[in-house]
Amino acid sequence: MSVDGIGARVARKEDRRFLTGKGRYTDDMSVPGMKFAVFVRSPHAHATIKSIDAKAAKTMPGVIDVLDGKQLQADGIGNLICGWMIHSKDGSPMKMGAWRPLADKTVRYVGDAVAIVVADSVAEARDAAEAVAVDYEPLPVVTDPVEALGEGQPQIHSEAPKNLIFDWELGDAAAVDRAIAAAAHVTEMKIVNNRLSPNAMEPRAALGIYDAGDDHYTCYTTSQNPHLARLVMSAFYNVAPENKLRVIAPDVGGGFGSKIYIYPEEIVCLWASKRTGVPVKWTADRTEAFLTDAHGRDHVSTVKMAFDGNNRITALKVDTIANLGAYMSLFSSCVPTYLYATLLSGQYAIPAIHANVRTVYTNTAPVDAYRGAGRPEATYLLERTMETAARELGLPPGELRRINFIRTFPHQTPVIMNYDAGDYEASLNAAMEAADWNGFAARRAEAERRGMKRGIGMSCYIEACGLAPSAAVGSLGAGVGLWESAEVRVNAVGTIEVMTGSHSHGQGHETTFAQLVAERFGVPIDSVNIVHGDTDKVQMGMGTYGSRSGAVGMSAVAKALDKVEAKAKKVAAHLMEADERDVVIEDGALKVAGTDKSVPWSQVALASYTAHNLPSGMEPGLKESAFYDPSNFTFPAGCHICEVEVDPETGQTKIVQFVAADDFGNIINPMIVEGQVHGGLAQGIGQALLEGVHYDDSGQLLTASYMDYAMPRADDLPSFKVTTSNTPCPGNPLGVKGCGEAGAIGSPPALINAVTDAIGNNEITMPATPQKVWAAAQAAH
């Protein structure tokens, strides 16, 4: 290992600009003539638009123009779409209602955009937006997904009768029912997975620039996947052909899924820039973010878990209703299906599984992937049920899990996934040891003497990352392939640029990807630059989400490095008059093994470009590209243990320790991996303890700012104990699995298992707020 290579705790190359205020986020961009946009949004959760009168607004100071959905329609801008087709169990395709970037007939949630105001300043645009007179006729509203499926409820899209988008299933229902009928014990639960707001700290923003001279558009936007944004805006929304549209996602301040999707605002800003003839910038305020960023989770499920007389799970039956909100967001359909039901086997050998999932329209913000996306829902359901079963069966929670662990690999589950490698007992043992599980009884007794209720809970999670084999996801309905691309450009002086289709918005790719190059060629990490986020600079790529950048993005880089290495060795062999099979790369030089012959890396690069002395027939230059399509998902797994103290008088829960023992396969930079785990844990703990989106019955969002939506703060959280074990992933050249989502997936059930253990009442829903815990603790006595 070189000092900057794989496995080293390299401090991040990108940090200096962030630490000195030189980061460049979308709202920091400024171009000559730029004007500012504010959107007119619906105050109603469901209403017919009778008319929009912008006459007064257009005469206000600083206003350039006010544009609405009719004009957008007239210019041929298309509907927003969901890019993953799901078929119901009756074979019918999902029932997708139309989503106009600016609503022209009906608004379906509070915050639905109806017009854009462009003005000299944000303040003037906001003044004018208030003066746009929209005449609404309110319609009945439904926000609850279970109610939305019932009789006599408001119909949100005519395309989807009774608001049912699809009724999908996976697994063998008959086998499951037989196993349940024959079971020695069945644990039954109702599981609610709460609705969350992603809350990347940088609000979404878009700067649309139309250049009439070249009939060309540029879009700066807060995106996790600028190429996908360009593809979708070209192919489906008719904004501009791909060759006339440049999308740049500069520094992006966190995503967590919410910046995967293409939203109305970037489409409308681009269109408005052409319409008005000025560059148009829009930046969300936090309340707009709460109203319109795609939310996460929001499942209501029932589960039955059957056991035989030896406490082995014989079957799992799950019925889930998933709220997708008012419109189908870009990947909304795959989250409660192929990212959820396929993980319901968890770490356990379960012979029969059946899941039925119904997705529903409601008058709420669209719901899509949020850190973990489907896998937290599966893990929460499974691990709450396992914990409950252990209590019912009178077994220690670790013991019931041990009895049911998968122990041989590869393992084919009944729900599509083929697990390639893992050692679940190793994680469980590591976590229990780090948490001093055996010392808990004494700690609980000590807490009891102080009047505190102490509890401990665990969660053994698995996730599927490294999205994803393109043909496989294509067969399941995906509209795109999920490979990744890389181009490695060795400059004539030997410095290196890597163009990657992955996008870093906090993950530290500028460092970890450079570590890979430093490791391979022995060059200083500072001589390697990672280029990403600009469709003009980088070849087509698929972006960053689903913990895919290490397993898929870096594998593409590795593949391109293989090609560069092969060519560099040929050049070096020619220069040293040696056989290329004898050439090795060490410490920044190409050497003939077993001799003192050596040429520096920089000299090989220069020779490649001067082309004065290359092997006969060789093309000049040293630049290679690769597309990497994974052969399987990767399967990070681990065990989280949470220990809490509940103050029974107030219901306040304090996390006294949190242990995460994870298996991410090989690790490129342990410091960055630990950071990813910490952040994921904070979001998972936030879900379990603090966060929840609430709408009232009229569809008004009650949690529209940090005054009412409880974000985890430093004093809500402990320092974390994080350990890793390693079963390398056999499916990719680096043996990596992905670490971005694990924290958010494993932690919520561990925490709720701990709280319910503390108070002696299993009936509690997330978030376990002081009020709820106090009430549940009262009810337990």
Binding site: A11, R12, E14, D15, R16, R17, F18, L19, T20, G21, K22, G23, R24, Y25, D27, D28, S30, A123, N199, A200, M201, E202, P203, D251, V252, G253, G254, F256, D285, R286, T287, H505, G506, Q507, G508, M671, I672, E674, G675, H678, G679, G680, L681, A682, Q683, S705, Y706, M707, M711, P712, R713, A714, D715, L717, S719, F720, G743
Partner: protein, 162 residues
């Protein structure tokens, strides 16, 4: 429209702005110092923290005209001669940042925290002092480590100078 003058990062600056212009927007738009960020509307996230006359303040909740005549330090003015301030260096060494958006506010907050507490900071105090700064990426773990390390180093440096 008001013409206001203040000292920003040691330099006297003037600019025209509406009375309703917030200090953060004056800094970002009039002065082009975009390191100071806006992450919420309710004075809670702390991405906009700057130093005003020796104390940390939230520049999203102060009018630019209120700050007229004051001396402001933003994240861009914290380090000199290309050297990172000890707090900035500690954030880098301890991986106290990921997406970087909350980072300028976090760093300015840490500098103020250490100004008031010196090296007498413990983990609980640091966590309590971070009440006005929200980070969505790091889970705060490494931010806390970075601030403790910077406080120890700066306290040590102060002792050495005495």
């Amino acid at each position: 429209m008001a013409k206001i003058t203040m000292t920003v990062n040691g330099r006297q600056v003037s600019g025209l702005c509406d009375d309703r212009t917030l200090l953060v927007h004056f800094i970002r738009e009039n002065l082009g110092l975009t390191g100071t960020h806006v992450g919420c509307d309710t004075t809670q996230c702390g991405a906009c923290v700057v130093d005003m006359d020796g104390q940390s303040v939230k520049s999203c909740s102060i009018l630019a005209v209120q700050a007229a005549g004051s001396s402001i330090t933003t994240i861009e003015g914290l380090s000199a001669n290309g050297e990172l301030h000890p707090v900035q260096a500690a954030f880098k060494a301890h991986h106290g940042l990921q997406c970087g958006f909350c980072t300028p506010g976090m760093v300015m907050t840490a500098v103020d925290m250490i100004r008031r507490h010196g090296s007498n900071l413990d983990e609980a105090t640091v966590r309590a002092e971070l009440e006005g700064n929200i980070c969505r990426c790091t889970g705060y773990h490494n931010i806390v480590q970075a601030i403790l390390a910077a406080a120890a180093e700066m306290g040590g440096a102060r002792h050495a100078a005495e």
